[in-house]
């Protein structure tokens, strides 16, 4: 394998990398080599690449700032084609063979970017730039401003193809969730786990150990060895799970957490049997946050030039990845931690031209550094970084702003102190508390019993103290949950004397000193916003966009608050904090969707006869979750022709239609009839056994809710049917009244939709067909089974029910058999019907037939209409009271001006009607179009010979014979139509009674 030399890789060391396993990758089309265990960031640095992106607003060159998921700068487009993912952090991407990444936000190339002229005009692009510039004229918004903003401000480009990856969801229940696998988290998991509690230890990165460094000693051994031993000890505990590449990003009520597990992201391709990512939902009885602390950058002029890096990141790249971030690394700090970076650099033989310490007095560590030959300068601040695409020098100043010296360097390690990582904890709304001694916000956890914090995430920075803190917290938490805890001693490390931290919020200067790197917010922007009156921290955030990028300002928030506080002469806690929101890190939308996408978005319900429909070549339509046959095209037939043929042949011969999806509810009890009386607008007490009746029910507000036939199968036994769409809603509605309002009624009911399947057999030959099917098992004569008659009978050893009801207006029967017999019934009907030229018909023809007959359906029951609007006012019983009656009497519900149901047909018979068209008059006169009503359903009617429709119009049937205009603005069609009776076919009902 041809590998490239890695010019900045150190010859020895690097606990995370495997030198025996080189990996090739490409960045912006150029190939490089790294090692297994590298991140994309460490591999780029090993190849001397600091410049990895352009900034959001000014398109300034940007380099790698961190070694962790807080990275604001090094955002790249990862992978290609449909797999392309924008805004991935180079610092968290694990290198794999063949990795392809591209820089973002540059045009045409990273080194030469046209839009970087933005920074020449930067006085026009300060805080509130978008608000000010794009205010006026408002008509410019869409055509001009939005396009410019999208072009100029877009970070990465999302793939435009469907996401080809797979995602899974998983759920966990645990006693103790420990978030963070550093020293404190490991100690907490150990003591909690040993008690027998069910523990999940969640670590975002692939490895445990957090910020432990190569030189740390725990229990007398190198820290890495202690981590290995602890891992082994935890793995031996049966109830403890260690989860790596497992980032907890959301904290919700009742101690519920969401985490994303990167299962395949570190691999060149996710194996077929694995998802790319898993979204985990964790319900934890108690949680211990051990999320560590984040180092703050130092705010000085040109602090964003590639090569300026957090001191902890410099140390991490040297220690873990054996990468020299520079040949000559200057250090600027206000605290002790950066000294450990200096020692690591020294160890690796990297030159340190200066260590500028903002503190006035030496500390124990600075003395040690001096003894090691490091040039330590106290009371010294960075003034300005020099260079364009890479740092070339650093100017230093004294605390009074006087220039001190200029040192040559190609990397600057900066440390502005540490902020506990409170982003996850504060999602629950707890405001953190300011601690002046460590210059940091720490979480306020004593208010909530179920939360514990350990280690640096609540301001404990010393390693020995972290271990003790974590161990105690794990033990205490397990004890509180009732687990027995053996007395054990905590792991220990040599204690170190810690020097104090010195405030260093804005080093004096006049240039661009960046606070929020991802959103390009400078210290000046914060001052400007404050001068313009955006003094509240929430306003500042929105006006300057500080902290509003994908990193939610984790490296910038405290510096920004401090600069605002200084500008206002207030203390930092007086200025306050902003709140973090889930997700704490960007999560792919596909992970939230999981398997529930495409066909798996919701369950698919198929009727018992589905296979029969497929055999007949049915084209299906989704009706809620149900798959229903829409029409059955014959060879070469289009949809319109098939529907027309089906509707015609039903009226000529006989047709069969699957109506299994209608809701079916069986009711029992002494008071079942009374219950129905209250549900429906019409009466049920006098319905004889063996008869069905059409019923209409209202909502409590008086509008029509649902309709269907209900049959009396026994004195105290009814079978109700509902529309397909409302089956679940009607059942819930009934349960509410039976359980909570009329608890004294003796009525019980349950859904039988999936127990009984049903077909409708309709047409003049329906009786002959069914006679041939049932062969005397049931008497189908008009006398024995008249219109609206119902019979239960035994057919082929099973119970069958037959209902003489008709939606089409033809002689029709509905037959129900137990679900499992559906296919057999369908086939027997088709066999017997062959002699009568039977055809199957779908929902479209069913719709045509019911419109021809003037029957209302879903489009007419639109939630706004009343029974009277539908022409069914005569069904309103005056002898009883029922749901919706009181409010149906309101003035607006009974107004004569309400549109009511009519039929409609075009004056010119060839013209097509459109559902949704509005009836309008006098267009020419007024110039203003006034709606008289609308067309709700239309059909190309074989029986009438032209398009027909149902609709609602003011004046209703009094307009029959009138001609009005139907306007369909979607296609700008206006046609003349005639209002007519809604019953187009067999108005006297002779066919269905035949």
């Amino acid at each position: 394998m041809r590998t490239h030399k890695q010019p900045c890789r150190l010859d020895t060391g690097g606990s995370s990398i495997q030198r025996g396993k080189p990996l090739r990758f490409s960045f912006d089309g150029k190939s490089y080599t790294g090692f297994e265990g590298d991140t994309l960031a460490s591999a780029l640095l090993a190849n001397g690449k600091h410049l990895v992106g352009r900034s959001f607003k000014y398109h300034r060159p940007r380099g790698i700032l961190t070694a962790s998921s807080e990275e604001p700068n090094a955002l790249v487009e990862l992978r290609k084609g449909a797999f392309r993912e924008p805004n991935t952090r180079a610092t968290t991407i694990e290198l794999f063979e063949g990795l392809v990444a591209k820089s973002q936000n540059r045009f045409p190339s990273l080194a030469f970017d046209v839009l970087s002229v933005n920074q020449l005009f930067s006085r026009f692009m300060g805080a509130g730039f978008y608000y000010k510039t794009f205010m006026w004229p408002s008509s410019f918004w869409e055509p001009v401003y939005e396009k410019f903003i999208r072009r100029a401000a877009g970070l990465g480009r999302a793939a435009t193809l469907p996401d080809p990856d797979r995602y899974e969801h998983a759920h966990h229940h645990c006693d103790v969730l420990v978030i963070g696998g550093g020293a404190a988290g490991l100690a907490a998991a150990l003591s909690a786990g040993r008690s027998g509690a069910r523990v999940i230890l969640a670590e975002e990165t692939p490895r445990l150990g957090g910020s432990l460094s190569r030189t740390d000693i725990i229990d007398g051994a190198p820290a890495d060895e202690w981590v290995r031993n602890t891992r082994r000890a935890l793995e031996a505990l049966p109830e403890t799970q260690i989860k790596t590449r497992f980032c907890v990003f959301g904290y919700y009520d009742n101690n519920i957490f969401a985490a994303i597990e990167r299962v395949g992201d570190h691999l060149a391709a996710t194996p077929k049997h694995l998802p790319r990512q898993r979204l985990h939902t964790i319900r934890a009885r108690k949680v211990i946050f051990a999320t560590g602390a984040l180092e703050r950058p130092v705010v000085f002029d040109n602090n964003d030039i590639p090569g300026v890096m957090l001191s902890s990141a410099v140390r991490c790249y040297v220690d873990r990845f054996a990468v020299a971030p520079g040949k000559s690394v200057a250090i600027a700090t206000n605290n002790d931690d950066a000294y450990h970076t200096a020692f690591a650099l020294l160890d690796a033989g990297i030159n340190i031209p200066v260590l500028a310490d903002a503190r006035l007095a030496p500390s124990a560590l600075s003395e040690r550094a001096r003894q090691l030959g490091i040039r330590v300068q106290h009371a010294m601040l960075p003034q300005c970084a020099h260079g364009s695409h890479r740092v070339t020098a650093l100017s230093l100043q004294r605390t009074d702003g006087a220039f001190a010296e200029r040192v040559r360097c190609d990397c600057i390690g900066v440390s502005g102190g540490y902020s506990p990582n409170v982003s996850l904890i504060s999602q629950r709304g707890e405001r953190p508390r300011w601690r002046e001694d460590i210059l940091a916000f720490v979480p306020e956890t004593n208010k909530t019993e179920d939360i514990g914090c350990a280690g640096a995430c609540h301001g404990v920075f010393d390693l020995n103290a972290c271990l003790q803190d974590g161990f105690d917290m794990g033990e205490r938490t397990a004890k509180e949950l009732g687990f027995d805890v053996d007395t054990q001693t905590a792991p220990s490390a040599p204690s170190q004397e810690a020097g104090a931290i010195h405030p260093l919020w804005r080093c004096p200067g006049n240039g661009k000193a960046f606070v929020d790197f991802q959103n390009d917010v400078t210290a000046d922007d914060i001052h400007l916003a404050n001068r313009e009156g955006y003094s509240s921290v929430e306003h500042l955030k929105r006006y300057t966009t500080l902290g509003m990028a994908t990193d939610q300002g984790r490296t910038s928030n405290v510096n920004g608050l401090a600069i605002l506080a200084l500008a206002q002469g207030k203390s930092i806690p007086e200025v306050g904090t902003t709140r973090y929101r889930p997700p704490a890190v960007p999560v792919a939308i596909g992970a939230f969707a999981g398997h529930e996408r495409g066909k798996n978005f919701q369950p698919v319900r198929r009727t018992a006869m589905h296979a029969c429909h497929e055999k007949f070549g049915a084209v299906f339509v989704e009706a809620g979750q149900w798959m229903r046959p829409r029409y059955y095209p014959e060879l070469g037939e289009n949809m319109e022709a098939a529907i027309w043929r089906e509707a015609k042949l039903v009226r000529e011969n006989v047709g069969v239609c699957d109506v299994s999806t209608l809701g079916k509810i069986e009711l029992f009890g002494e008071d079942a009839a009374e219950f129905l009386n209250r549900l429906y607008i019409n009466g049920w007490s006098k319905l004889p056994v063996g008869k069905a009746r059409y019923g209409l029910m209202l909502r409590e507000d008086g509008a029509v809710f649902d309709d269907g036939t209900t049959s009396r199968l026994g004195n105290n036994h009814f079978l109700m049917t509902t529309t397909t769409a409302n089956a679940a809603a009607v059942l819930a509605h009934m349960e509410k009244y039976a359980q909570t309002v009329w608890r004294d009624l003796d009525v019980h009911f349950c859904s039988a939709t999936e127990q009984w399947c049903g077909v409708s057999v309709a047409g003049p030959l329906a009786r002959e067909t069914l006679k041939a099917v049932f062969k005397g098992a049931v008497d189908l004569s008009n006398e024995a089974l008249p219109f609206m008659g119902v019979r239960e009978f035994v057919w082929n050893g099973t119970t069958a029910r037959i209902f003489r009801i008709s939606f089409s207006g033809e002689l029709a029967y509905e037959v129900n058999v137990p679900w499992g017999y559906g296919e057999a019934m369908w086939e027997r009907i088709m066999d017997a019907g062959r002699a009568f030229n039977i055809i199957p018909y779908g929902t479209e023809a069913l719709g045509v037939l019911r419109i021809e007959k003037g029957h209302v359906a879903g489009s007419e029951l639109d939630g706004r209409t009343t029974a009277t609007d539908m022409g069914l006012g005569s069904m309103l019983s005056s002898k009883k009271q029922f749901i919706g009656l009181p409010l149906s009497r309101r003035e607006g519900m009974t107004s004569p001006k309400r549109p009511s149901l009519v039929g409609v047909k075009p004056v010119k018979p060839k013209q097509r009607l459109r559902g949704g068209a509005h009836f309008v008059t006098d267009i020419a006169k007024k110039g203003k179009i006034e709606s008289l009503g609308w067309i709700s359903s239309v059909a190309d009617s074989p029986a009438v010979g032209c398009w027909i429709g149902l609709g609602y119009i003011q004046g209703g049937h009094t307009r029959i014979g009138e001609k009005v205009t139907a306007w369909y603005p979607m296609k700008n069609e206006m046609i003349e139509v005639e209002i007519c009776d809604p019953v187009f076919v067999d108005p006297k009902g002779e066919r269905l009674h035949g």
């Binding site: 009520d253 409590e700 507000d701 819930a732 509410k736 909570t740 309002v741 009181p886």
Partner: protein
Amino acid sequence: MHRIKCPFCGERDESEYIYQGDASVSHPPFDASIGDFYRYVYVRDNPKGWHREWWHHVGGCRMWVQVARNTLTHEIYATAPAGGVLDFPEDA
């Protein structure tokens, strides 16, 4: 996400339930005024603190369950069957 103790099924996840609104309003008798029905259908308090609610156990036994929930803290104090006595904390 809540866990709600169904009086019939035991503790179950919130996802098994559908929230069905204020349980402190009751259906007026049919001879009540239009005004009474108007208030029953449309008028609700928006309390900060303890609230009597209906949760319908649709993914379980399909019973309507009374729930004492704190709208501020999301704490659920007690549940009861329809028609049963629902306990609230003393300070409610």
